[in-house]
Amino acid sequence: MPLRVAIVKPDWRIRGGFELVVDRLVEHLTTHGHYVDMLTFDASHTDRRPFGVRVSATEWDRCPLFFGYLAQVEASRAVTAARADLVISTQPPSFVVDHPRHLSIFYHHIRPYYELSDVFIRSTMVDEHMHLATTSAVRQIDADAIGRVRHVMAGSETVAGRLRAYNDRTDRLSVFHAGPNSPPPVEIAPFGSGHHALCVSRHDFPKRTELFVHAAALAAGVQCESVGTGGRLGYLRRLAGEFALGGAPPSMTAEELWLAPHPYIDPDSVHVVSSNLRLAGAVSDDELGHLYRDAFCVVAPALLEDYGLTVIEAMSHGKPVIVCSDGGHLCHFVQHEVNGLVVEPTGPAIAAAMRLLDDDRVLAARLGEAARDTASTFTWQRALCEFDDALEMTMS
């Protein structure tokens, strides 16, 4: 029986990994004869009258994330999906949409109010008092809305755990394992080969590319490549330059390196100093494929990740991945000394792991082969079966 499916999605005016996932699901639904209606609303819209209360500019600037979130809650609730047989909500707070057959594809919460709440306070990027008040408010609003959703499909076991812990969502909760954005390579380089360590990540808080930069400076003999763009690229280039000229201190605290807020630096204004680290910025898919093929390991230093598609991509190229012990779901993919290495979240620990894999290519080959096996279990075929199951449970 074809269904009229409404997908509710905040429009952030960007096309990232999640948009690609939604495209796949839409294609899957239409292929199976369902009719899909995309209901979007401008998420960057800042109507300063959430729920009819005019918020002054001063108050708004005290906690812009919270007031913006409320405006999005109101916008999500205003979406009319009465004609749909089934509603699928996507990024927060689209799950506040009210519909008797509502499936939420839940990839993440508004993270500063959940698992990253403490990190944001420690970073001094937010006022502690305000942040605690808004955290409490957002969690109340979310718990109320998530409790009404017919079925929740979490983006990973880690996210499902957070739903249980923070929102008391225990039943009608399943997990969805998205496959890689691009098909896995048919031919790969021999296991254990390669001449550089690679890090693929956005340069935003708290992806912690700073740890990779620090590790590169400490492992002078290892060639390091970093791919990605983001607000901290300029800061990273300057940091890399300082390390290249003055040498990296063997131990730097997290607060000094990645936790403290840094003013924006235009990446093009930073003089690039020649060293063993290249911060490439954005690269084409072809170039990224070459960088994966020629890497002997891939480093993923991010904090408390929800999922980690780049790790699956790296593994599909047969590369061992180095992740940090506080990497969230990354630690579900990587088993220490089985298909990669799990290390302490510090520059020296990552540097030591890179040196180990560079020096011991037999170990790198063994871990890379196991990584390739791990990646082969994450396919879109499996993901779509999980999606179909969730659809059925929502309609039942």
Partner: protein, 465 residues
């Protein structure tokens, strides 16, 4: 900062739809009563050591006391244990009271510290106030000077305006006279045209009878000119519209049922001083349903014939133009404004002004309900909408919802109403995969042709009722 926290909490309550909470405080029993009962219990605890009985029956009483002495001894033990427990509990209560008192003192100290800070701030503010007062006095003096200049200027402008008004009145009177002349001439021309047309028709018949080619049909411009002239003689629509309504929208139980949903929405006004104002109330069908439900209400309509009909049913209805009526009402005075099939009669700018006035006059938590034809139903949007000659243009449900939100109303909801009976019929399922699209297309067509004929958009003024 604390204001912002209060704002956060307030907005969270609104997002969660929470209303004011009442805190119930438990009341502790009077310590005096406890004390009296305890004293009495202590006095009577030693039941086996009572004074020797006296009187005529003292021998019998002594025997009974001797026989039951062992039980009285036990009773004494029970009494003393109970008193002990009560004493212990009283002590615990005293301890807790002392702690509470200490906490109260601590709070009082904190409050006092805040007051000190406030006083210091007040001192600073007083200085500011003095400065501001001085500045204000200077401004007042300047203002007085400006006012005198302004009055002189106003006098000059008023006299100029009087002259201009006089000229304008002469011009209007002159133009009106010329307009009347032109209208009379046009009507005379129209009559002549009709006579000519009749002659032409007769001629055509005669020419047709002798087999000659006929004259081509009148051009569009000619037809439009005739229509325009005919418009000059249009009668007043009010009376016709009254009959039109009676013909197409019969009253009765079906209407009562139709309005039942709104009655539930408006029940919160039962017993309230803030009435429902039903704009464009017509014969008062909706108003009658509200009256029956005990909801205070009043109707407005511009059509005197309709108002007469409604008044004949004992309803409170006034001949009034809605916008003007609402402009005359004080802020926060109306419980709800309803407009059933009204907004489609209004030009967009008037609709906007109407919503602004409604937002102003509604009490906090007051409602607005607009019902209008559903333009997403093609049969309505393309055809039946135009059955009513006074309709202006269809209004899309998303635009109406947007407008209410934009003008500051909250909890906006859209309800699709009154589908045709065929809408409920199931669409046959096509098993072949290639025909699934057809099934969806049929579903679309069902909505477009037989789906909801109308929709209602509801909104609420922020604040609690």
């Amino acid at each position: 900062m604390s204001d912002t926290v209060q704002l956060i909490e307030d907005l969270t309550d609104r997002a969660l739809g929470r209303t004011d909470q009442t805190v119930l405080l438990s009341r502790s029993p009077s310590r005096a009563i406890v004390h009296d009962h305890l004293a009495s219990a202590v006095a009577n605890a030693t039941v086996d050591e009572m004074p020797s009985p006296a009187g005529r029956t003292r021998f019998v009483k002594r025997i009974v006391l001797k026989l039951g002495g062992f039980s009285l001894t036990r009773q004494r033990a029970v009494n003393q244990a109970t008193i002990g427990v009560v004493n212990a509990l009283t002590g615990e209560i005293d301890h807790l009271s002392a702690e509470l008192e200490q906490e109260r003192r601590r709070s009082a100290a904190a409050m006092a510290a805040s007051e000190v800070a406030l006083l210091s701030s007040n001192r600073h503010n007083r200085g500011l106030v003095e400065q501001l007062t001085e500045r204000l006095n200077t401004l007042s003096r300047d203002h007085e000077r400006s006012q005198k200049q302004f009055a002189a200027e106003l006098l000059r402008i008023t006299s100029m305006q009087d002259e201009a008004n006089h000229d304008l009145r002469s011009l209007v009177a002159n133009t009106q006279g010329r307009l009347e002349d032109a209208r009379s001439e046009a009507m005379a021309d129209a009559n002549k045209l009709r006579v000519t047309e009749r002659r032409l028709a007769l001629l055509k018949e005669q020419i047709g009878a002798i087999g000659a080619p006929t004259r081509p049909a009148s051009s569009e411009a000619e037809v439009a000119a005739v229509d325009e002239l005919a418009d000059l003689r249009l009668p007043d629509l009010s009376e016709v519209y009254e009959r039109f309504e009676a013909h197409f929208r019969p009253a009765g139980s079906a209407l009562d049922q139709r309005f039942a949903g709104y009655v539930t929405d408006l029940e919160f006004l039962i017993g309230s001083n803030a009435p429902v104002v039903d704009v464009g109330t017509g014969r008062g069908d909706f108003l009658a349903v509200l009256v029956a439900a005990g909801i205070p209400c009043r109707g407005l309509d511009m059509n005197p014939e309709a108002v007469d009909s409604a008044r004949a049913r004992g309803l409170d209805v006034a001949v009034a133009e809605a916008l003007q009526y609402l402009c005359e009402q004080p802020d926060d005075s109306i419980g709800a404004v309803t407009a059933i099939h009204v907004v489609e009669h209004l030009p967009p700018a008037v609709l906007l002004e109407l919503i602004d006035e409604i937002t102003r006059v509604l009490i906090p938590g007051g409602m607005v309900i607009f019902e209008t034809p559903n333009s997403t139903n093609l049969a309505v949007g393309a055809s039946s909408f135009y059955k009513d000659p006074t309709h202006h243009r269809p209004i899309h449900p998303e635009y109406l919802a947007f407008l209410l939100h934009d003008r500051g109303l909250v909890d906006i909801a859209t309800r699709f109403l009154n589908p045709l009976p065929e809408f409920e019929q199931a669409i046959p399922s096509f098993a072949e995969p290639g025909f699934r699209g057809l099934e969806l297309l049929l579903d679309d067509m069902r909505w477009a042709l037989k789906g909801p004929q109308d929709y209602a958009t509801l909104g609420r003024r922020p604040g609690s009722r």
